[in-house]
């Protein structure tokens, strides 16, 4: 899955665009995706049905964590 890397507002707007276009039931599915913040940068999964000129990355940065 590709991700859009953009400002928080741009990610939120992209989510709104996909959510409105997909007409989810609004109960068990309420939106396309959560905006993901990793180390101060914002990402949202890219939906191929909704093109965007925003920067795309193939994967999210790996969080050096705590398994």
């Amino acid at each position: 899955m590709q991700y859009i890397k953009a400002t928080k507002k741009e990610c939120e707007d992209y989510n709104s665009t996909v959510t409105l276009g997909e007409k989810y039931d609004g109960i068990s599915t309420t939106q396309w995706a959560e905006v993901i913040e990793i180390e101060g940068l914002f990402y949202i999964p890219f939906n191929e049905k909704y093109p965007s000129e925003l920067t795309k990355v193939k994967e999210l940065p790996v969080i050096e964590a705590d398994v």
């Binding site: 899955m1 997909e22 068990s28 599915t29 995706a33 993901i36 939906n47 969080i63 398994v67």
Partner: protein, 292 residues
Amino acid sequence: MGTVIKLIRDRTKLGLLSSFSENTTLLPLLDLYPNAAAAYSLRKLRNAYSGSAIRVRRSSDNAVLDIGFVDNVLDTASLLTFCGSGDGFVTIWYDQSLTGNNATQSSASSQPLIVEGGVIDMINSKPNIRLIGSKYLILDNTVLLSSATNAWAFFVSKPSNVIGFRYIFSGYLNLSTNADRGFTLGYDDTKPFNYTVRDLGFSSITGSNINNQSLQSFSADRVNLNNYLNGNLNNSTSDKNSNFSEINFNYLGGGPARISSGDIQELTLFNIDQSSNRTAIESNINNFYAIY
């Protein structure tokens, strides 16, 4: 004519006997070992449970449908009819315990897959929920397993061999910062599928067991962690200085901003010591999944 009827009657009787015998070995797990803290499965775990197994969103028009059980297993016919030639995503995995603590995902992009291109995802001929990549489910309420009474988990999964940090399930005391690990099974390149509770941990699945379906049992008290793989003790550790009293469990998969790495078919959590029942519980699960 009378002979034909008699034959049919005999076959029916044999069929009933055969069916009874099979059902004796496959009695629902929670009827034998009740009072689970949470229980998620694609088979029926409790006779009196009248709810569905999962709620599924189909890709063609985003409609949703609850999928239940037929003969105590997932109603795959209804699932396939609903999804058609498209994909099916799990929006709710219903908790079959008395707690009713469902695992849900309201963001479409994070919903795990169960049907792809009109084909049900299967492992060893049984339906499977694919918790890979950014997919995860959130428990409605954090399960607090008390380590004072010995917390137990039994689960069937297929851990994937991937690079970097990945999670099969996870829990944190502090969800806003993902700090203070609860019950977590994750993977990194140096610690393959490491169980952790707070700072206690050990590798559980290595070598040929990665990428293969397995049944794992896990127990934790304030001092000891034990892991059983396919019925045998696999690894354990202890730390007499550990002082955690509760073990948090929040996500099937990695949770937000984390990567998931495991197919899961069943997970049952207990807040009751199951040491004396472990072998029987594992047999019940393995009788259905035929893992080993």
